[in-house]
């Protein structure tokens, strides 16, 4: 056990030394956004589909649009807390530029150039379309500010070195899609980018990255007991209409009712247009089976 720990520390030091070029933050090219104007009304749809409030609203608060942060994420590496992303100038991100925001959401890089931990699902948002990003930013300016300070994370060495996340990103972050779009671009965009379904429904390798060979194959529940169900056709025999109805009403085909973190996903999707739920359902039905 001790020698294993030493190895880890060594790896972190070597990584920090040799791998500087690999671990340096990769920022967006701001020129990309020239000429874009954000539409707050469209941004609300992006915000809802992406589930930003599910993580960033205050735990236990009924006001899901006050983005105080505080929700905790227990992982093998320690506990992470979602920060305040309300438009408050000090406690939140009110002082940020659009470019800062784009770097955070699509690259996982802070305004100071530090890496965010992937508990923030930027590995999915990295594929977000520029117009959506701009609309999202416009919408978030319309929300109420909260002056509650963000809570510091509780993670141990060497994972508290944000630099080591750079190596992780180099190995695991990609803006390639996993499944062929066929004729369902919207469904794939919703599932793989905005709603980041795989973050929960796909198992992870020992370094915490999604195991793409077992895409949507079900996973242990990160916050304690039980498992998150598989959505592949070898396990889930629901029709497309059943999946769409579940996303709208929270009822399974046998009229059990949704629970756990999925309840928030359903709450979000219930507020989206029916076509979006149908597009997601079509994507789920087109998943390849996993052969064990």
């Amino acid at each position: 056990m001790r020698s294993f720990l030493k190895l880890l520390v060594l790896a972190a030091i070597v990584g920090a030394g040799i791998g500087l070029w690999v671990t340096a933050p990769n920022r967006v090219d701001a020129a990309r956004f020239d000429g874009l104007t954000g539409d707050a009304a469209r941004g609300e749809t992006v915000f809802t589909a992406a589930g930003c409030a599910s993580c960033h609203h205050a735990k236990g608060s009924e006001d899901k649009l006050l983005l105080t942060g505080g929700m905790e994420f227990v992982s093998d590496f320690g506990t992470f807390y979602a920060p305040n992303i309300s438009p408050h100038p000090e406690a939140g991100i009110g002082g940020w530029s659009f470019e800062d925001f784009a770097n955070a959401v699509t690259r996982g890089v802070s305004p100071e150039g530090q890496h965010y931990y992937p508990a923030f699902p930027y590995t999915a948002y990295t594929k977000m379309q520029d117009q959506d990003l701009s609309d999202l930013w416009a919408y978030m300016q319309t929300l109420d500010p909260s002056d509650v300070a963000s809570k510091p994370h509780d993670v141990g060495f060497p994972f508290n070195i944000r630099r080591s996340v750079g190596g992780w990103k180099f190995l695991f972050m990609s803006d390639d899609y996993v499944i062929e779009a066929a004729d369902n671009e919207r469904g794939r965009y919703l599932v793989e980018t905005l709603a980041h379904c795989a973050e929960c429904h796909t198992p992870r390798n020992p370094l915490g990255a999604l195991d793409k060979a077992r895409w949507m194959g079900g996973a242990p529940n990160p916050s304690g007991s039980g498992t998150i169900p598989a959505l592949t056709p070898d396990k889930l025999d629901w029709s497309a209409a059943d999946v769409a109805y579940y996303l709208e009403s929270g009822f399974t085909p046998s009229f059990d009712a949704v629970g756990g973190h999925m309840a928030e996903v359903v709450e979000n999707f219930a507020a989206l247009p029916a076509e979006d739920r149908e597009a997601v359902a079509a994507y789920i039905k087109a998943l390849p089976p996993l052969d064990e």
Binding site: P229, S249, G250, F251, G259, G260
Partner: protein, 150 residues
């Protein structure tokens, strides 16, 4: 006077082999009541979705059964030591026992939604959708906090 029906149905569910594991009786009883709820929601939901033809009498009977279940006393079904950390075969989270007031009030919310459904279910198919929504929210609100995934 639908309570005797609910009690009978409960007994019937409890008697099925699928549930005849070595679970404590209160756990079997509460899981049984949830299955009766799901069964009756299925009747209403099928009509709301249009996969089953609307039938005022069947809709009313299903809604009345939900109200009947909501009126069953919960006290005996949730004894200490029957959370998912203490025994296998339950998805009830220990948080229930630390927040019994909130849990009870979420159960009461379900009762209200069921009563509203019973007032409307016999009046036509269009009344089912919104009441299914309210019932779904009541189920979801409790499962979100107090039921662990399988």
């Amino acid at each position: 006077m639908k309570t005797p029906f609910a009690a009978l149905a409960l007994l019937a569910v409890l008697g099925t082999p699928a549930l005849a594991q070595d679970l404590p009786q209160p756990v079997k009883a509460r899981q049984g009541q949830f299955n009766i709820m799901a069964l009756n929601l299925g009747v209403l939901g099928g009509m709301a979705r249009g996969t089953v033809e609307y039938d005022a009498e069947a809709a009313q009977a299903a809604a009345d059964s939900l109200v009947a279940v909501s009126s069953l006393s919960q006290g005996a079904m949730w004894p200490d030591g029957t959370d998912d950390g203490s025994i296998a075969g339950t998805r009830a989270k220990a948080d229930i026992w630390g927040n019994m007031d909130d849990f009870t009030s979420k159960w009461a919310d379900f009762g209200e939604a069921a009563t509203a459904m019973a007032a409307a279910a016999g009046t036509g198919r269009d009344a089912l959708g919104p009441n299914m929504g309210a019932l779904g929210n009541a189920c979801k609100a409790c499962h979100d906090t107090y039921r662990a995934p399988e």
